[in-house]
């Protein structure tokens, strides 16, 4: 037990001292902060920049002066209305006096509106709010010419009051879906990324030939478990750090109304947090031990990628099955199966629990299946590791390693 803590402590210290770990942690935290603060930054830039300057040229007097009412509307533009030729508008845009312009013309009773921009970029798209307001002004002008009073106009304009009534109460708690998907995605990525580190750590020890000294100092089981737990704890701490950063950023940068709309805190109970942690730990162990197995078969660092491929494939299938089944239809039988199936349950069951889609019986069966899978993988991985780590020749196949395990048992 003491040696398990020693291996864990050493693995954790080695991991957090790695430049790649420090840099990637800083980058992800910066991205989280950047992502949450981006809307505020953009709105601050827009405020500083002021309203967009738009010129409306009505040389044919199609609107008969009614466009002036645009200036009294609550629109985010500095609007200038006059009669300016296309060439003059072009010059004004080039000289940055205005940003865009509408040119209104009438040909054979057909009103034509040109929107003039310097170049077509997303920020130069036709401002639909302004265009809508112009259409409305034009309609009112034409209706008033027909001699209809404003009261009559109001009567013929549809003004329905609409509302939605449910006949059945929702069984699914959709309020937290967005946040749950984000958490589920983060946990899945953490499981996949950190389990690969276990393989890398074992391969590094093997290829640096330190392994022989290590296995005479403590048992292979202690090494595998110490490494797996150590790297897992660092992974969990990193995920907690990222989630904490995201929560702080959401509170600092997002409107409280938006947060309340996305997240129902009442659903995040201590019990739910514990179950999520259980799934994270079991999911992590299942894949970390599989990667420990492949890592111990490799003799050269360049072989690690190919050795890890089968496990990566299983992890990807588990992730896609779990994540996308609940993204598309969390109530479907595929999602229910993914919640039970041990290779995918860690990726989707916490989300299903939060949505109220899993019964306590489902949760118990799913956890038991996952524990059984972890126990089987641990037994095979430790046995293969013990036999394969001192092989310095060519890469050992899993078949050879398993044969060695059988021979050893005899």
């Amino acid at each position: 037990m003491k040696n398990l803590f020693t291996v864990m402590k050493f693995t954790m210290r080695e991991m957090v001292r790695k430049k790649s770990f420090i840099i990637s942690t800083i980058i992800i935290i910066a991205l989280i902060i950047g992502g949450f603060s981006l809307p505020k930054i953009l709105s601050a830039i827009n405020e500083e920049k002021g309203n967009k300057k738009i010129l409306i040229s009505d040389e044919s007097n199609v609107f008969e002066g009614t466009l002036e009412s645009l200036k009294t509307m609550d629109l985010p533009y500095d609007i200038t209305i006059n009669k300016t030729s296309y060439d003059d508008i072009k010059n004004k845009i080039e000289n940055k006096e205005i940003e865009t312009a509408f040119i209104i013309e009438k040909e054979n009773e057909q009103v034509k509106i040109k929107y003039v921009v310097e170049n077509i970029r997303w920020e130069n798209e036709v401002p639909q709010d302004l265009f809508g307001a112009m259409s409305s002004i034009y309609s009112n002008l034409q209706i008033s010419k027909l001699g209809i009073t404003p009261e009559q106009l109001q009567m013929i304009t549809p003004n329905f009051e609409t509302s939605v009534e449910q006949t059945q109460k929702d069984e699914v708690e959709f309020q937290n879906v967005f946040v749950m998907m984000a958490v589920s995605f983060s946990l899945s990525m953490a499981i996949i990324l950190f389990t690969v580190q276990v393989a890398q750590s074992i391969t590094t020890e093997k290829t640096s030939k330190i392994m022989e000294t290590l296995v005479t100092s403590t048992s292979p089981r202690t090494i595998v478990l110490g490494k797996t737990i150590g790297i897992g704890l660092i992974g969990l701490m990193q995920v907690i750090l990222f989630i904490t950063t995201a929560i702080i950023c959401a509170n600092v940068f997002l409107d409280s109304e938006l947060i309340n709309m996305l997240l129902n805190v009442s659903n995040i109970t201590p019990g739910f947090i514990i179950i999520t942690l259980v799934y994270f730990v079991l999911g992590y162990f299942a894949y970390a031990l599989l990667y420990a197995l492949t890592g111990s078969l490799v003799t050269k660092p360049e072989d690690i990628q190919s050795a890890n491929t089968p496990v990566s494939m299983i992890a990807m299938i588990g992730f896609y099955l779990g994540y996308f089944s609940i993204s598309i239809d969390p109530t479907s039988s595929v999602a229910a199966f993914a919640g039970m199936f041990p290779i995918s349950s860690a990726f989707c069951m916490p989300a299903r629990i939060m949505m109220g889609l899993a019964t306590p019986q489902d949760i118990a069966i799913s956890i038991v299946l996952l524990i059984v899978m972890v126990a089987i993988i641990a037994k095979i991985a430790i046995s293969v590791y013990s036999n394969a780590i001192l092989n310095y020749g060519s890469k050992m196949s899993l078949k050879d390693a398993l044969r060695l395990c059988k021979e050893k048992k005899k």
Partner: protein, 296 residues
């Protein structure tokens, strides 16, 4: 008491790597394990350290089965390795803690050994900044800092320069003086002769020779004579039906198939007033015995 291997065998994929070997170390000293590459030395060492399971036989230390729990051993493997990007001090503490030491005692022992092996200045550096020889000394420290009773050194001198070889030799002498049991595998026969009282020579997993080194050598007849003279003696050598193996500045090494011929040669040199400063009838070296036993 001590270490005892009885009829130990090990096969890999049906091929015998070690076949029925037995030896024992009953008192502190250095035991030499010799053999060509692939002879089964490392497999034997791995079995006696419990890294590999033996197929048959018995390995005991002070009467108890050998495993990590009941033997405090130190091991310098043939495959050299250190954590390249970890501080030397940190990795030595790590291994010392795995061997049951506390951090404080480990630090004290590391500093003492670093002083003996002249690597104090590297303790706070990463291994990648050290030369291969110094990395090897660090690995030797890993094997010794926890004060083991049984020390297994697999090729301890390979890759070391003469200065560091001397340093490590002194460490081994000190270990024996301190009552440690040392098993050493080496290719340098001169080194084995220098340290080992008992040896075992393996060839393709089979013991081809074992026992007390002096007794083994004594059992072999003399095979060379070394003669330092003041003139050319080629004609006298020829007359005695002997063959010159090497000659530099009238210092001769002459092959010997019969010790009496050496006596005849000496008589002849004296009778002819040849100035003889050295005349030594030599027993075969361990190297000769080794080549004879394992040479194809």
């Amino acid at each position: 008491m001590g270490l005892k291997l009885e009829n130990v065998s090990k096969s890999f994929a049906g091929k015998k790597a070690v076949d029925n070997i037995s030896f024992s170390l009953e008192k502190p000293g250095v035991y030499g394990l010799l053999g060509t590459n692939g002879a089964g030395k490392t497999t034997t060492i791995r079995m006696l350290l419990g890294i590999l399971n033996k197929d048959s036989g018995k390995i005991t230390w002070n009467g108890k089965a050998v495993d990590r729990k009941n033997v405090n051993f130190g091991y310098l493997p043939e495959e050299r390795g250190v954590y390249q990007k970890t501080l030397i001090m940190d990795q030595l503490i790590y291994f010392a803690e795995l061997k049951g030491m506390n951090k404080k005692a480990a630090e004290k022992s590391i500093k003492e050994w670093a002083k003996k092996l002249k690597v104090e200045e590297y303790l706070n550096k990463t291994a990648e900044k050290l030369s291969k020889g110094n990395q090897q000394k660090i690995q030797l420290m890993t094997a010794l800092i926890h004060n083991p009773e049984l020390v297994v050194l697999d090729e301890p001198f390979s890759g070391l320069d003469p200065v560091n070889t001397d340093l490590v030799k002194n460490i081994i002498i000190e270990l024996v003086r301190d009552g440690k049991f040392v098993i050493m595998s080496a290719h340098q026969m001169a080194t084995i002769e220098e340290f080992c009282s008992d040896i075992l020579i393996l060839n393709k997993g089979i013991t081809v020779l074992q026992g007390n080194l002096k007794q083994i050598k004594d059992s072999y007849p003399a095979n060379r004579v070394k003669v330092d003279v003041n003139q050319n003696i080629d004609s006298f050598v020829k007359e005695c039906n002997l063959e010159i193996e090497n000659e530099v500045d009238n210092n001769y090494i002459i092959k010997l198939d019969d010790e009496n011929k050496a006596h005849d040669l000496l008589k002849m040199l004296v009778q002819n007033n040849v100035g003889v400063t050295r005349f030594e009838i030599m027993k075969p070296t361990l190297n000769d015995i080794f080549v004879e036993k394992v040479g194809e």
